[in-house]
Every structure is written in structure tokens, then in C-alpha cells.
């Protein structure tokens, strides 16, 4: 294992730059977390407030979708480089997932 790895000791400037970039990224993750908490609060508040189901259901599903995109692209770094194959796998999985849910929900509907 690890036969293709060589150790590259970074210069001080390179190291400081990479460190700062990671710290910036971490601040971005904190902002993402705040947005996720906010979306969750909206979803729970809407249900607790007792709006019409026809209004709530599409909105909370949309909020869940946004939260999952934030989780995948930022917390799981799918927005980073070298995630092309990863995106292909996940989109295929999501496509099959969508068809599965659609099929079973419509079977009981009719």
C-alpha cells in the first residue's frame, strides 16, 4: 500500500495558505449548519402552527431536499474536486430511489 505516495514537505507560505483555506472552509460549514437548523425550525414550526396539509407537505419536502443538498455538497464535500464519479453514483442511486417511491406510492393510489 501507499507505494505511489511521496512526502512533500510544504514551504511555510504553502502551509499557512492551506491552513487559512481550511479555516475559511470550516467557517462556511458553520454557516451551512446554521442554515440547516433554520430550515428544520421552519419545517417543525409550520406543522406545529397547523397550516393546511396541501401547503405544508410540498414546502417541508422542499426544505428536506435543500437540507440534503447542503449535507451532500458541503458536509460530505461533493462540491470538491475529484467527485465526478461520486456524483454519478449518487445521481443513479437517487434516480432509482425516486422511481421506487413513485411506483409504490402510485400502486396504492389506484
Amino acid at each position: 500500500m501507499a507505494h505511489d505516495t511521496h512526502i512533500h514537505v510544504r514551504s511555510k507560505a504553502e502551509f499557512e495558505y492551506a491552513k487559512k483555506k481550511r479555516a475559511d472552509e470550516m467557517r462556511g460549514h458553520l454557516a451551512t449548519f446554521a442554515i440547516m437548523i433554520f430550515l428544520t425550525l421552519i419545517a417543525f414550526t409550520m406543522v406545529a402552527a397547523g397550516f393546511s396539509a396541501y401547503l405544508i407537505v410540498p414546502i417541508i419536502l422542499l426544505l428536506a431536499g435543500i437540507q440534503v443538498i447542503l449535507q451532500l455538497y458541503y458536509f460530505m464535500h461533493m462540491s470538491g474536486k475529484g467527485h465526478g464519479m461520486v456524483a454519478f453514483f449518487m445521481f443513479c442511486g437517487m434516480f432509482v430511489a425516486f422511481i421506487t417511491v413513485l411506483a409504490l406510492v402510485t400502486i396504492v393510489w389506484w
Binding site: I7, H8, V96
Partner: protein, 208 residues
């Protein structure tokens, strides 16, 4: 190259999880697993949606009458926070700060264990009400979906604990960096599934 090669923050690569061939292979294989898990959970969600509030017996229990939001809200916040703490752990992994990473993983494990405890409490509460696994098609579908998620939480916790103990004296190296990274990806995926569980099962269940 020796797998136990020591690194300093200066020599630690920017992406240690994919810096070796083994790391790259693990990374791609693990994402393929997550895509397959997406399909697994979709089939359980689809089954739940098709059988929600269906009998043939045990119809006295419905989603609208059974679920209580305060507990689910607490569980959601705990799991979401544990997702952030594992992000912090990976931030320190990339900084090559082993102790900080272990500490954040420890917090993640504590939060995850709290979540699991609340879920066990919830299931126990339902069973005492008479809403058991074999009560109705609805109950079986509910316990299978939420229980499979709970089993993933348990597996994720065991994985974190095993990694933390096994590597406690090793410190961070190219051999275990991909392992920590994948466990944290798994933990985020558990949170992704929970987002749909609290939305589709609990919130949409309470609406009726």
C-alpha cells in the same frame, strides 16, 4: 513506504483520505455503497408510504395519533449537531491534529448515543401502548424503516469507537486517515436519511 510513517502538519497532504491508492479505492467504493444505501432506504420509505395507516388489524393506531413532535425535534437537533461535530473532527484530521480529532469524534459518539437512547425510549413507549411490530402493516413498515436507520446509527457509533480505540496510540497516518474520513461520511449519510425520516414519517404523519 511504511504505513506507519510519521507526519507533521507541514508534510501532511491536503487530501490525506485520497493521497494513497488504497485511500482512493476506499473512497470510490464507499460512495458506491452510499448510493446503494440510498436505494435500500428508498424501498423502505416507499413501503412505509404505501402501508401508512393500513391494517388489516390494529387500526386504532394512526400516525396522526401516535407521533409526538417534541421528542422528534430533540432527536433531530441532536443528530444534526453530531453531523457538525464530525465535520469539526475531519477539519482537525486535515490539520493533522490527532487529539482534537479524537475529542470531536468523542463528542459525536456521545450525541449519537443520546439519539439512539431517545429512539429506544420512543419505541419502548409505543410498544407499551400496544403498538408492536406485528400490530399492523403500518407498524411493521414504521419499525422496519426507522429501525433500519437506528441500526445504522448503532453501526456508525461502533465504527467510530472501534477506530478511536484501535488508533489511539498510532496517531494519524496515511493508513488510518481514509478510515476516519469514510466513517464521517457514513455519519453524514445517516443524517441525510434522518432528514427524510423526520419530514416524511413524523411531520407528514402528524399532519395526517
Amino acid at each position: 513506504m511504511d504505513i506507519n510513517q510519521r507526519y507533521t502538519p507541514q508534510s501532511w497532504p491536503e487530501h490525506p483520505e485520497t493521497a494513497t491508492m488504497e485511500g482512493k479505492n476506499k473512497f470510490i467504493g464507499f460512495w458506491l455503497l452510499l448510493a446503494a444505501e440510498t436505494v435500500t432506504f428508498a424501498s423502505l420509505f416507499a413501503t412505509y408510504l404505501a402501508l401508512k395507516d393500513k391494517g388489516p388489524s390494529g387500526m386504532e393506531f394512526s400516525a396522526a395519533g401516535l407521533f409526538e413532535l417534541p421528542l422528534v425535534f430533540a432527536m433531530t437537533m441532536i443528530l444534526l449537531t453530531s453531523s457538525l461535530t464530525s465535520v469539526y473532527a475531519m477539519y482537525h484530521m486535515k490539520n493533522h491534529n490527532f487529539k482534537a480529532m479524537q475529542a470531536w469524534l468523542g463528542i459525536t459518539v456521545l450525541l449519537g448515543a443520546t439519539f439512539l437512547g431517545l429512539e429506544i425510549y420512543e419505541f419502548n413507549h409505543y410498544v407499551h401502548l400496544g403498538f408492536g411490530y406485528t400490530n399492523s402493516a403500518f407498524s411493521s413498515a414504521f419499525y422496519t424503516l426507522v429501525g433500519t436507520h437506528g441500526a445504522h446509527v448503532l453501526f456508525g457509533l461502533s465504527w467510530f469507537i472501534a477506530l478511536m480505540l484501535r488508533n489511539a496510540k498510532r496517531g494519524l497516518n496515511m493508513y488510518n486517515a481514509p478510515k476516519f474520513y469514510l466513517a464521517s461520511l457514513y455519519w453524514h449519510f445517516i443524517d441525510v436519511v434522518w432528514v427524510f425520516i423526520f419530514t416524511v414519517v413524523y411531520l407528514m404523519g402528524v399532519i395526517g
